[in-house]
């Protein structure tokens, strides 16, 4: 499954970057969301994928039976998902605020207002 996922992650990245390079700020938001999904899947895939072996220890046992999926990347991704939500909210509100102030959704026209 990993090679297929590698291709998919590549496509997600490409889509995210393409969207982030658009001038419309709304597309930038879409790009950001795609990017965080792509990054999570990148970590998930490169750690190796296991079918049906969640990193849980059966009751009473000291260690899981057999090989389980790597828990460390999962822990990383779990926080990354939540943080991506926080950052997305921040970005969306920031963009909205900027739009209200300068009345353009064109990124290229936003460049001179910081002076």
């Amino acid at each position: 499954m990993e090679p297929i996922m590698a291709l998919i992650v590549g496509c997600l990245y490409a889509a995210a970057i393409y969207m982030m390079l658009r001038r419309s700020i709304v597309k930038l938001v879409i790009g950001l969301m795609l990017l965080s999904n792509a990054a999570n899947l990148l970590i998930f895939t490169s750690a190796g994928m296991q079918r049906g072996a969640p990193p849980l220890i059966p009751e009473g046992a000291l260690r899981p039976e057999g090989i389980v999926a790597d828990p460390l990347p999962q822990a990383l991704i779990l926080t990354a998902i939540v943080i991506a939500f926080g950052v997305l909210a921040f970005a969306v509100v920031l963009i909205h605020r900027a739009y209200n102030i300068i009345h353009t959704d064109n990124l290229d026209q936003m460049k001179d207002t910081d002076t």
Partner: protein
């Protein structure tokens, strides 16, 4: 000793509170601490004089060999006494001098913080700790010099001092690290006795030059002397403290501290003696040109620093004895003189020697103190300054000094006497003249006079009975020498060459005093030369820096975010691809075990992503994003990550809510770019995406390190009593990471809240809300009428 430094910092933190509570009495309360510390340090005198050392170890970062170990030996005791002793009087003095200043609390805070840092600097045994305190003194002195920050010139002077000393500090850090590498330890106690190792170290020259750059910039040696006179923009208590006894002596302290290990080589002698002599002479020349008492004193401090460097450079036994004696005497009289100059400024309204005369009747105590302190500066008996100066001349005549050095030193000595006489006599003799009306001129308050009186009395007493400090001076110079120092201090050495030279300089100094106006006139012909001094070099450098910055800003940072992104992405793709392919070659392992439902899921994910890109409606994009998110969640479900799947689904739901609330208030999609632009961007995107695919292919095949998660899987139940390993990692094994992450979340929430709730008020003087910080000032006025999202806090609870 750690507690002593900590106590000063604590007091600094408490100072504003004390200030609001006790007002006028604050300075007296604050001064109790340094006074107590002076006594405490003094109580160690017998032990140190007997040749002992007080070592108090305290581990800080043992893994990096960084400790907060403090050591008290002769040299650090001398400095500690000066720092705390003079500091006591400076606090008293400042309380009166800056009475009613609206930033007085801030002044106390920074002054005490400086005192603590300076004390830490002279006590620390670890080179890195020493450096940390060194930088702390730079920063606090920047704040002190720039205390009157409304003044443009003051800010400039403060920044100049900071840039010069901090640039030197960087070199110093490199030097200290080289020392540690050569000696194999950061502890000064362990470096002691490794003199041969250090001197034979292949990078000895580089190491020495780096250290000297640090010390010379801090101690205002030629050609970095220019920042010190400019720093006179500071309030007088600051100049009296920082620029006489403490901060500028930090460089000297460092050289003295490392002198047992580094001194004696040709390079050391050459660099230190020539820099010292040049500094001495430059100071002398510039001092006699000045008319402002404070500037004059600043240049004479430059002279003294030059002298001390010169003595360290000579590094004979006698020179180092002279070093300690001169250091002590200079700190005593120079601190007093600065404070006296401040008193004149405060009471008579000017520090300009041309504007003041005949004040002796109105300010008798000040006049007497000034006269005595200036005598010490001139090096006349029976003051401590005389002993220091005699030893200095003696050491110079016996040491390895070149003839040109002797000549320059003599010229400087004459100028020194001239300055001393000018300061002692000009403002006080002759017919009364002052900018303030006579009725307004009174003797200064007790708190301001306490410092000068005590310091001058000490100068006089110790001059008459040098036996009182002989032990301390010997102990201090033993520490600089790195061996037992013998010798003695005495006022009378018999008729000898140094005495003759003193006499000659006194006579010529009198002549200089008499014809001061004419000398200044002739010196003014040299003005074009002074204008091209090292300070011009500093300004040229700064201008160059600004030009470089504006060029690179125009070139790289033109303000278009998409440009930045493109540059970033392309350089990222190029560099990463190069590293990947050159190190690990291509991995193209297409052995796939695949179920049909997984393939279908992959295709859904892919088409959802594409749909999000090409759809022309916002609703379509949000729906497509939802499809992407839930497909990712399904991937997590299929590949054994239940926690992730739950989280992803929940977040996806909340995201939709968020987008509904905000995104649909933004304009709908518009097509702005031309097909060519789209093609170019698609190319960049495909390059980066392809690279990520390659990256995964390689990481799957190449295993560089054993995974650390095996330990976590093994120990999850035995050590952390948890059966959900992911959660155990989050809250136990890697809890510190999680702690950081929830802080990030909190910050994001506060940011969102601030952006929604706060907005600038248009009423004048009401621009205190946080929103003003993120708004471009230009459009602030038009903003209020059409803000749809912004809401003033007062309307928060409207139904």
């Amino acid at each position: 000793m750690q507690l002593a430094v900590l106590a000063i910092y604590l007091l600094a933190a408490l100072a504003p509170w004390l200030c609001s509570k006790h007002r006028e009495q604050t300075s007296r309360i604050l001064a109790l601490l340094p006074a107590g510390l002076t006594l405490w340090f003094a109580s160690h005198l017998p032990e140190i004089i007997a040749g002992g050392k007080v070592i108090q170890p305290y581990a800080w970062i043992p893994g990096l060999d960084i400790s907060l170990t403090f050591v008290l030996d002769g040299l650090s005791l001398l400095f500690a006494l000066l720092i705390c002793g003079i500091g006591t009087f400076i606090l008293l003095y400042a309380g009166s001098y800056l009475k009613g200043h609206h930033h007085l609390q801030r002044f106390y805070v920074v002054l005490l913080a400086f005192m603590g840092s300076m004390l830490g600097l002279v006590l620390s045994d670890n080179l890195i700790t020493l450096f940390v305190f060194w930088e702390l003194t730079s920063i606090t002195s920047y704040l002190l010099i720039g205390f009157n920050h409304q003044d443009d010139k003051t800010r400039k002077a403060a920044l100049q001092g900071l840039i010069v000393t901090v640039a030197g500090g960087l070199a110093l850090l490199a030097g200290l690290i080289l020392v540690a590498i050569a000696a194999g330890s950061y502890s000064i106690q362990e470096i002691l006795g490794q003199a041969d190792v250090l001197r034979d170290y292949p990078f000895y020259n580089a190491m020495l030059i780096c250290l000297l750059l640090g010390a010379f910039t801090k101690s205002a040696q030629f050609p970095f002397h220019f920042w010190l006179p400019n720093a006179m923009a500071a309030p007088t208590p600051v100049s009296a403290y920082l620029h006489s006894a403490t901060m500028v002596k930090a460089g000297i302290y460092l050289l003295a501290r490392l002198s047992p290990e580094l001194s004696g080589t040709e390079l050391w002698i050459l660099l230190l003696t020539s820099a010292g002599t040049l500094t001495l002479f430059t100071g002398a020349l510039l001092a006699i040109r000045s008319t402002d008492m404070k500037k004059m004193l600043a240049y004479s401090t430059v002279m003294a620093l030059g002298t001390l460097t010169l003595l360290l450079g000579l590094s004979t036994e006698l020179a180092l004895l002279a070093f300690s004696a001169y250091l002590l005497s200079h700190s005593l009289y120079k601190g007093a003189l600065f404070m006296l100059a401040g008193i004149l400024d405060h009471e008579a309204g000017s520090r300009d020697l041309r504007e003041l005369a005949g004040l002796r009747r109105l300010l008798p105590v000040t006049a007497l103190c000034t006269a005595l302190a200036a005598l010490s500066l001139a090096g006349l008996p029976p003051l401590l300054g005389f002993i220091g100066k005699e030893l200095f001349l003696d050491a110079l005549l016996q040491g390895p000094a070149a003839a040109w050095m002797l000549a320059l030193v003599m010229l400087s000595a004459i100028s020194g006497v001239g300055i001393a006489l000018l300061i002692a006599l000009r403002p006080f003799t002759g017919e009364l003249r002052a900018p303030k009306p006579v009725e307004a001129i009174h003797e200064a308050p007790k708190d301001m006079l306490a410092g000068p009186v005590v310091l001058v009395a000490a100068s006089l007493l110790l001059g008459l009975a040098p036996g009182l400090v002989e032990g301390l001076v010997l102990a201090s110079s033993s520490a600089v020498l790195g061996a037992e120092q013998t010798g003695y201090l005495s006022l009378w050495h018999g008729f000898n060459l140094p005495l003759l030279l003193s006499f000659v300089s006194l006579v010529l100094g009198l002549v200089l005093f008499r014809f001061w106006g004419r000398v200044r006139y002739h010196l003014s012909k040299l003005n074009p030369l002074f204008a091209r001094g090292p300070e011009a070099g500093y300004f040229a450098l700064m201008q160059g820096l600004v030009d470089l910055a504006s060029w690179q800003t125009a070139f790289l940072q033109n303000g278009s975010m998409r440009n930045y992104l493109r540059v970033l992405l392309l350089s990222f793709a190029g560099l990463t691809a190069y590293t990947l392919l050159s190190r690990y070659q291509l991995h193209w392992n297409w052995e796939v075990s695949l179920y049909l439902h997984e393939l279908i899921l992959a295709l859904i994910l892919l088409s959802a992503a594409v749909a999000a890109c090409i759809t022309a409606s916002r609703l379509g994009a949000v729906a497509a994003m939802g499809a992407v998110g839930y497909s990712v969640a399904l991937v997590f479900v299929l590949f054994s990550a239940p926690d992730l799947a739950i989280t992803q689904i929940l977040v996806e739901t909340l995201t939709v809510l968020l987008l509904v609330l905000v995104l649909f208030r933004l304009p709908s999609f518009t097509r702005l770019s031309t097909p060519a632009e789209r093609g170019r961007d698609a190319l960049v995107a495909i390059l980066c995406g392809g690279l990520m695919t390659l990256l995964i292919m390689i990481t799957i095949d190449v295993q560089l390190f054993p995974p650390i998660s095996d330990y976590m899987i093994e120990q999850s139940q035995p050590l952390a009593y948890g059966r959900n390993i992911v959660n155990v990692i989050l809250v136990d094994f890697r809890a510190l990471d999680t702690l950081g992450e929830i802080f990030v979340l909190a910050l994001a929430a506060l940011g969102v809240y601030a952006m929604i709730k706060f907005r600038p008020e248009t009423a004048p003087g009401a621009n205190h809300s946080a929103g003003t910080l993120i708004l471009p000032p230009k459009v602030r006025k038009s903003e209020t009428s059409d803000a749809t999202l912004s809401d003033s806090p007062s309307q928060e609870k409207s139904p």
